[in-house]
Amino acid sequence: MSDVARASNRPLLDLYRTMRRIRSFEERVGEMFVRQGTAGSMLHLSIGEEGVAGVCAAMEDGDSFTTHHRGHGVFLARGGEPGRMLAEIGGKEAGYCAGKGGSMHIADMGVGHLGANAIVGGGIPHAVGAALSYKTKGIDAVSVAFFGDGAMQQGLLYESMNMAALWSLPVLFVCINNQYGMGTRIDRAAANTDFAARAEAFGLAGRHVDGSDVEMVLETAAAAMTTARSGTPGLLTMTCYRFFGHARMDKSPYRDAAEEAEGRGHDPVAAARARLLDRSEAREADLDALDAEAAQEMDAALDWALAQTQPPGAAMFDHVYAPDEPPPQPLRDRLSDVLREYR
């Protein structure tokens, strides 16, 4: 079974599996942090946002995407290997980026992942640029920019949307609206939270979907992708709830238990499970088995990642420039040049 989310003849079950894998993965990231196996604590979990699997399933091979600092789920759903992802999150040489980038800069050109970004909004225009390449070169592909609701307040988004619409580029903007930018609830950050209206005002097709209903996400995203593929870019806003703190150290003191309980009630994984059972598309035991399989997969990935080593010191100077280009001179060499010259 492929690990890229895609439309199938058992769509909900597949989506459920993808979402369960995301959740299991993110739980392992948390565990990895506790076991001090991560590179730092700048770890942003996408638990509660698994409905994004629906968007990923609406994408096709050859489509590309950029993500934000909370992008593990999207990458996993688009084919990321959990072991290499965790290795990267741990700053290990075997990671996707050779341990140079970490959680916030994970990327994989192989599956069209043009990169996570630690600058809010920073990766958005890159997806537009990819779409420009596709249009210019006559390639049938769409690029998708994933970002949070916080990025709706970054000016660069509007510059990007305008250019996308002006040039009729095959790009879809996806706002994962988890209600919070760190400790700031969206209504304290935006005067008007009807983001679809913003998109329409810039000439894009604006759509909104409830992220706890992954089937609806798939359906809406599929429509948005079709529109984008035909040259009308769109913004798709997916509402969800950030189940935990902003990053690993944040206990979310700025929101109360009642709100959290209500938010976590909109659980896309639980909702899909209930629906599968309800519709008799799966039995409890099947789903339990599937859950266990995901857990095992992620446990194995974690064990593997924890066993990996950090890159060697010499790796410091690789990849600043292309391999055949003049590299930066290490400081020790420069000091040696200076201090040896006068001996």
Binding site: T38, A39, G40, S41, M42, G91, K92, E93, G99, K100, G101, G102, M104, H105, N117, A118, I119, V120, G121, G122, G150, A151, Q153, Q154, G155, G181, M182, G183, T184, R188, A189, A190, Y254, Q310, P311, G313, A315, M316, F317, V320, P328, Q329, P330, L331, R332, R334, L335, S336, V338, L339, R340, Y342, R343
Partner: protein, 335 residues
Amino acid sequence: MTAAAQTATYREALREALADAMRADGDVIVMGEEVGLYGGAYGVTKDLIGEFGAARVLDTPISEAGIVGVAVGAAMTGLRPVAEIMYVDFAGLVMDQLGNQAAKIRYMFGGQTGVPMVLRTQGGTGRSAAAQHSQSLESWFAHVPGLRVVMPATVNDAYHLLRQALTKPDPVVFIEHKALYVSKGTLDKDKPDAPWGAPVLRRAGGDAVIVAYSRMVHEALAAAETLAERGVEAAVWDLRCLNPMDLDPILESVRACGRAAVVTESCLTGGFAAELSAQISEHCFDRLEEPVIRIAGEDVPIPVAPDLEAASIPTPGLIADAMAWLVSREAPAWA
């Protein structure tokens, strides 16, 4: 030390400075992402919103350029804003409002108005925060006429330089270091370490001079300890202010011993270490026994892997090795 002296962390000292300034001057407001309810990404503005209210402690959207631009306009019209940019790495989003607007308005408008604002931010490595959350970008700001730039290394400076910045008529970029927030020291609210603009000698020593600022002061001090064991006495100067900058006391000290090093976390090429090196060479030329050396960050983006990250900036060991070579002509193992 006066009776008012107490032990505090760098973070607490900064918070105290903001609170005291807000008590003393009703025009001081604090604005930025998460400065209110959250209390600041690094806790510096904790509970300020409780004492001063949401009108003076403004949580903003994630709109860095807008934040600085709004602060500029507010500063021109009677407020004294402290705008926080969560990471100095986001400078690239605000350099226009900072460098083309805040810095130049007094000049372009022929002195009609100033822009009395403080831009608080923090930088540096130490948290495996990777290439976009670990930089040292003071060199960009220090190259902009019209911007004052200060970088406190100690608890007392954290307090006093921020208080002083909040009395200045021109825009001040105030850069904290993320690895220093938990550092402890003596805070004496009645006694600044030195006047605005002046450097402070943090350790005396007659064999060589080390000039540093921000976190590198501590790495230099640690190196000096090791060096003392090896029989080399290095003076450690804390620059504190990059603009205004009074290099004269440091130059005196370099002239006396003929050997100097500049240490910055900022990457080497085109960084502020070059300015310091050039000025020292210009002014101490005939007293220098050896070239001024620069010990700085590697010319690489900051890698996330903790070992690589740590190796990308000067360590006490590297500083000590280089200083020993400079003074005693002992080449280190890596040479």
